[in-house]
Symmetry: C2
Subunit: 258 residues, 2 copies
DNA sequence: GCAACGGATGTTGGATACCATATCCGAATC
DNA sequence: GATTCGGATATGGTATCCAACATCCGTTGC
C-alpha cells in the first residue's frame, strides 16, 4: 500500500483508491500524482475557505499532522504556502493562525477586484462566442438551484465559476490567477452573510443583468455592471462586518471585566 | 554561540553579530529575531531578483542548504514560500527552478500594474503633502546618481521606492502589497535591459514628469502619465525579450542538431 | 493587594539520520 | 536507430531529538 492509514478513524489523505485499477491492468488515465504537501495545502485551504477554521483559529502543526496522518513536515510546508497566499499568518515561535483581514483591507480587496474584473470582462466580451453564453447560462441555473436548496457550501465555487466563465475569453491567465486568489479571500467573508436572503436575491439579479449585457456584447454596460456588482457586494459585507465585529468586541470587553 | 558557522568559508546566514553588544550590556534596539526559514527566503528572493540565479536555474536543496549552513528543512519551506510568490516553480520529484514568465504573462503583468498603479496615484495625490514632494525629489536624485555611477544593483530598489512614495499617501497597504509583488517580477526582467542607455534616460524623464504632475496635484495628468510610463516600459521589455528569446531558441536548436 | 520574578509546560523552529521512489542518464540490447 | 535496463542522484517524506521561545501560574517581595 502506498497510502498512509490513520490509526483511529481520522480524516487521512489517501493516495490509494485512484491509482488501483484491476489487477494486472495498466493504468491508462494519467493518475493524479500530487505530493502530500500539495494535498495538505489543498485540504487546509478548503477548510479555511469553507469556514471550518474560522478567523484567528490557531493551526497546531501536531494536531493537523495527526488528523491527516502525515508528519509535521508537509504540514509546515503547506502552511508556508498558504501564508504566501494570504490565508494564514505566522507569528514566530507562536505558530500559524487563520489570517484576519481588517476592514480597510477588505475595502481595498473589493476595490482591486472591481478594477481588475471590470477590465477583464471588457477585454473578454469581444472574444465571446455563443458557447460562452450558454455556459454562463448553465452556471447561473446551477447557482439558482443551489440557492433554492440552501446549499451554502457550493455557493463560493459556483460564484467563482460564473465570474471565471465571463473572463475566460480574455485569454488572460496570469490576471485570472491573481483575481482567483482575491476571490478566495472575498468569498471566505461573503459566506458569512449568505443567510441574508436579500443578499442572495440581489446578487442573483445582478448576475443575470451582467449575463444579459455580455450576451448583447455591450462592453461598456457589462463592465460598469460588473464594477458596481463587486463594489456593492463589498459595501454590504463591510457594513455587516463593522456591526458584527463591534458587537463581538463589546462582548469580549464585558467578559474581560465583568 | 547561537549562530551556525559554515565549515568552509561559504555564505552562511548568521544570527550572531547583531545580537551581541558589549559584555554585560543590555541590547536596547529590538533585535532582529527572524527565523532561518524567513532569512533563507529573503536571501533566495534577493538572489533571484538580482539575477544571480537566472531564469530556469534549478535550485538544489542540498546545495543551498550547504551554502547557507542550514539543513534542508528551512530551505524547502523557503522555496514553498517563493513558489507562492511566483518566483519559483516546483516540478514534482524534479525540484524547484527559478520561474520563467511567458511573453503573454509579462504583457499582462505590466497591464495589471498600469491598472492598479494609475489608480493608486489617483487616490494618493489628494492626500499628498510637501513632505511627500521632497521625499520623491530625494529619491529621484539618488536614482539619477545611481544611474550615473552605473550602479545597476540598486536600481530596482530605488525604482520601487519612487513608486512607493507616490502611492503611500493613498493609505492602501493591501493594494501596495500586491503591487510590490508585481514590481518584483517586473524588475527582475527590467534589469536585463538596463544596459540600454536610452531606456534609463527615458525612464528618468518620465519619472520627472510624473513627479511634477504630482507636485501640481494634477490627478488626471499624473494618473495618465503613470499608466503610460508602465505600459511603455512593458512594451520595450517585451520587444527586447522577443528578440532575445528567439535568438536563444535558435542557438539551442543549432546546438541540439549541429 | 499587586507587581515582579521564576519556574513548568507546551509548541515551534530546526537538525539529523534514514528510506522509498521518481527521474535522468548511459550502456547494453534488439 | 530505437528500446530496454539498470544504476545515480535528488526529492518527498518519516521518525526522533533538541534548543529557543511564549505563555501560564504560583510564589515571592514590596
Amino acid at each position: 500500500m502506498t497510502g498512509r492509514r490513520t490509526l483511529n478513524g481520522k480524516t487521512a489523505i489517501v493516495k490509494d483508491a485512484i491509482m488501483r485499477p484491476a489487477v494486472g491492468r495498466v493504468a491508462v488515465f494519467p493518475i493524479k500524482r500530487e505530493t502530500l504537501t500539495g494535498m495538505t495545502a489543498d485540504a487546509l485551504r478548503e477548510r479555511i475557505l469553507r469556514g471550518d477554521y474560522p478567523e484567528g483559529e490557531p493551526l497546531r502543526q501536531d494536531a493537523i499532522a495527526d488528523e491527516f496522518g502525515v508528519s509535521r513536515i508537509p504540514v509546515r510546508e503547506a502552511l508556508r504556502q498558504l501564508e504566501a497566499e494570504g490565508l494564514v499568518t505566522f507569528n514566530p515561535h507562536r505558530g500559524a493562525v487563520v489570517s484576519t483581514l481588517s476592514i480597510q483591507e477588505i475595502i481595498e480587496l473589493f476595490e482591486v477586484r472591481a478594477e481588475l474584473e471590470s477590465d477583464l470582462i471588457r477585454r473578454a466580451i469581444p472574444n465571446m462566442t455563443s458557447q460562452d453564453d450558454s455556459r454562463a447560462r448553465e452556471i447561473l441555473a446551477a447557482y439558482d438551484a443551489a440557492i433554492r436548496n440552501g446549499e451554502v457550501m457550493s455557493w463560493g465555487e459556483l460564484n467563482w465559476q460564473f465570474h471565471a466563465v465571463l473572463y475566460a475569453p480574455s485569454n488572460r491567465l496570469f490576471t485570472l490567477g491573481i483575481v482567483n486568489k482575491l476571490h478566495q479571500q472575498s468569498d471566505r467573508y461573503m459566506r458569512m452573510l449568505l443567510a441574508l436572503a436579500h443578499v442572495e436575491q440581489r446578487a442573483k439579479q445582478e448576475h443575470r443583468d451582467i449575463a444579459v449585457a455580455a450576451r448583447a456584447r455591450d462592453v461598456k454596460r457589462a463592465s460598469r455592471l460588473m464594477r458596481e456588482h463587486i463594489l456593492s457586494a463589498g459595501r454590504i459585507l463591510v457594513a455587516f462586518l463593522e456591526e458584527h465585529r463591534s458587537a463581538r468586541a463589546k462582548k469580549t470587553r464585558r467578559r474581560a471585566a465583568p
